[in-house]
Symmetry: C2
């Protein structure tokens, strides 16, 4: 079978399965999730053996250590996949919930009912655990899923796919509700991205290159984020002890993730006092600072920031620092260089707190808290499938509800239009 017809068949089968999935009870869905969690633990050695094949192949192809690390399924990976599924089983099922019902002058009663999106395609790179994490969330929200992982993880993903199929079959649900693309050919991605008749949403997970490729080639709506260039703004009159804790946490607690701070903005009236103190803390944590001229005047030992530093997502122990004139300057910098991901202000001023919340145009805006809280779990959504920095459908962390949509339901007793 050609790549085109293989993928088209999968998309058609997913679309058919999605009808059954939409009707599926929460109890049944949770049964699959819990059964799958148990099976993953029970089949740990099989999964790791298949994963070993991928690792050997990756080493033969001289992939980087970082890539091989992401590819490797450890005991902790197994446990995290199983635990993740059990957590998702605990989450409230959004499907079928109805909003308040309003009544029209002609006595029609109108409401909105939450329903699954239908078929979701996930395109990702080397981490095999995405197969389980993403499938679990999409499935719980009542969707059928097509997963296309990196070709370097093919054996691992196939092993996981087999276990998922078993769990579905044993529970009496359609096996095509979760499918893993086994075609190595990259053409498979292009074909999947053109199945707009059958697939409702594409979620790419991986580096910026993959995401841009998906956006440029998809006829199907895509939820994605390119990068997180997150700012903390230390306002005039801020509690500087609090500011130090928040800036330090935002940068150092986990520098390799998208919600870590990449640029710190400091009001000019606090810079002389604040910068030397926080610089000392950062220096102890091996954070390299790159400053604007005013920052470098106050901290003469640090590197001067270049234009390329302001929009940079370092994802590393590097931080750009800028002294700003006022709130306008701070918001202007964020508007120019930010990525609509996460911004935080440290302030004691009521009016400026309100203004920052309103005007910082990012998916999560915080007052007096670390940028690291932009996370579905931390914000109370439960597990998340990612963070959207585009505004359509979902903006910010996406949990179960963001994997659904609503339709209008209307209760009448014979109404017609005049």
């Amino acid at each position: 079978m050609s790549v085109e017809s293989a993928i088209t068949e999968m998309a058609k089968a997913a679309s058919a399965a999605s009808i059954e999935m939409a009707r599926c009870s929460s109890a049944k869905k949770n049964e699959v999730l819990l059964r799958l969690a148990d099976k993953i633990e029970a089949n740990a050695s099989h999964i790791k053996a298949e994963n070993e094949k991928d690792i050997i192949f990756a080493k033969e192809k001289s992939l980087s250590n970082a890539m091989i690390d992401r590819l490797t399924v450890k005991d902790a990976t197994i446990k995290s996949m199983a635990d993740g599924l059990r957590e998702v089983a605990q989450l409230e099922d959004p499907v079928g919930a109805m909003s308040k019902t309003w009544k029209r002058p002609n006595s029609l009663e109108v409401s909105r009912m939450r329903i699954p999106l239908g078929v979701i395609g996930i395109i990702y790179e080397s981490r095999p655990n995405v197969t389980i994490d993403a499938a679990g969330l999409c499935f719980k929200a009542g969707n059928a899923v097509i997963l296309r992982g990196g070709s370097e993880a093919l054996n691992s993903n196939q092993a996981l796919a087999g276990i998922v199929s078993d769990a579905l079959r044993e529970t009496g649900l359609p096996e095509k509700a979760v499918q893993v693309v086994s075609v190595r050919d990259r053409e498979a991605v292009n074909v999947l991205l053109s199945q707009e008749e059958y697939v409702d949403l594409i979620i790419p997970r991986g580096g910026e290159g993959l995401i841009r490729f998906v956006v440029e080639n998809s006829k199907i709506p895509v939820l994605k984020h390119y990068k997180g260039v997150c700012h903390v703004y230390v306002d005039e009159g801020a509690d500087l002890e609090m500011a130090k804790e928040i800036c330090y946490n935002s940068k150092v607690q986990r520098p390799g993730v998208c919600n870590a701070m990449e640029t710190m903005l400091v009001h000019k009236s606090e810079a002389e006092k604040f910068l030397p103190e926080i610089a000392k803390q950062f220096s102890e944590a091996d954070v390299e600072l790159r400053g604007c001229p005013e920052t470098c005047r106050i901290l003469p030992d640090i590197k001067t920031a270049e234009e390329a530093d302001w929009p940079a997502e370092y994802v590393d122990l590097i931080l750009a620092v800028k002294v700003v004139q006022d709130m306008d300057d701070a918001l202007g910098h964020i508007a120019k260089y930010g990525s609509s991901h996460t911004e935080s202000i440290v302030t004691s001023d009521y009016e400026r707190a309100r203004r920052f919340l309103r005007e910082a145009d990012s998916s999560v805006v915080l007052v007096n808290a670390s940028t690291r809280f932009n996370d579905g779990g931390e914000l109370g959504l439960g597990a998340e499938i990612g963070i959207s920095t585009s505004k359509l459908h979902a903006f910010g962390p996406m949990g179960l509800e963001e994997l659904t949509t609503t339709k209008f339901v209307v209760f009448g007793d014979g109404q017609v239009r005049n």
Copy 2:
């Protein structure tokens, strides 16, 4: 200036204006809308004179009468544009509304704030009134707008654009908040569809050809519907008098629109009684029926439906009719041939009403009411910019709220992540 740089400049300017628009008070936005309504009425003769140039050109190019009709700005068109703007001014401004606030175990308080989408591009065909109707709604929701109408309406649209600019300038808002593309070259559309850095949403309005072109070429998210193949299902045991009124209204009250019924499904146990009665009513209204074999057995004078009739959107006084075995058969037919637009059931049975509401996978599902109620105004959303039949972001009629999104706002007092 090349088409590419002209459109890119517009997109950049719109993006800059959208920042100011997002901060704009409801009072200021309403002032612009009301001023614009007055100006359109005051400048009616200028608008009609410019429109006349388009009409002369259209006649020279031998465009169809239907196209020339859509292109023509009559006194009623002027009034409807002005009244529409005054209605939009009355609608509640969704921007800035916050959802309930929830509290996390670490005392962070989290809420969602409604915000504009940013920059919306509207691509439409010959009706110049779309320029005003679409701009008014997008503007009220706090967005900047770029409008690209059909080249055959260029003079009309430019006249309207000038009036909009005046209204914005006189109110002290950025003129670039509403821009009309004046480039005739079709390349302008392609360039606009590639401005993903500056434009957040594209809404195409027009025929299926235009919409498919936009979906295939856009790098920006698109909200659209292709067509409305709407069904009414007359259930076993339905109140047949009610069924007749609803079916008649759904087909005849305004056959040329997307929420008119295109296929009627009748349970086999009601067909012998119901079909001859409704056929008489339809015949008096000059509705042509095309039936399945069983329908044709009961109504021997009508045409036999072909396969092409079931997915057809006639937008005319033609109706496909099918006798179904049961609810499964009806839902199966809708799933196979429907367009996710509007479905209605006429029933007296509680359980089947519930099942139909849950399982008919369309943007609006009704019990005992005409399909013609799939409309933003009728469902209580106020004016609408269109009906979405794709599930991302909005599914069903799109009012002001659907032209916005939400961001997370987080209130802390020094929280950091462990």
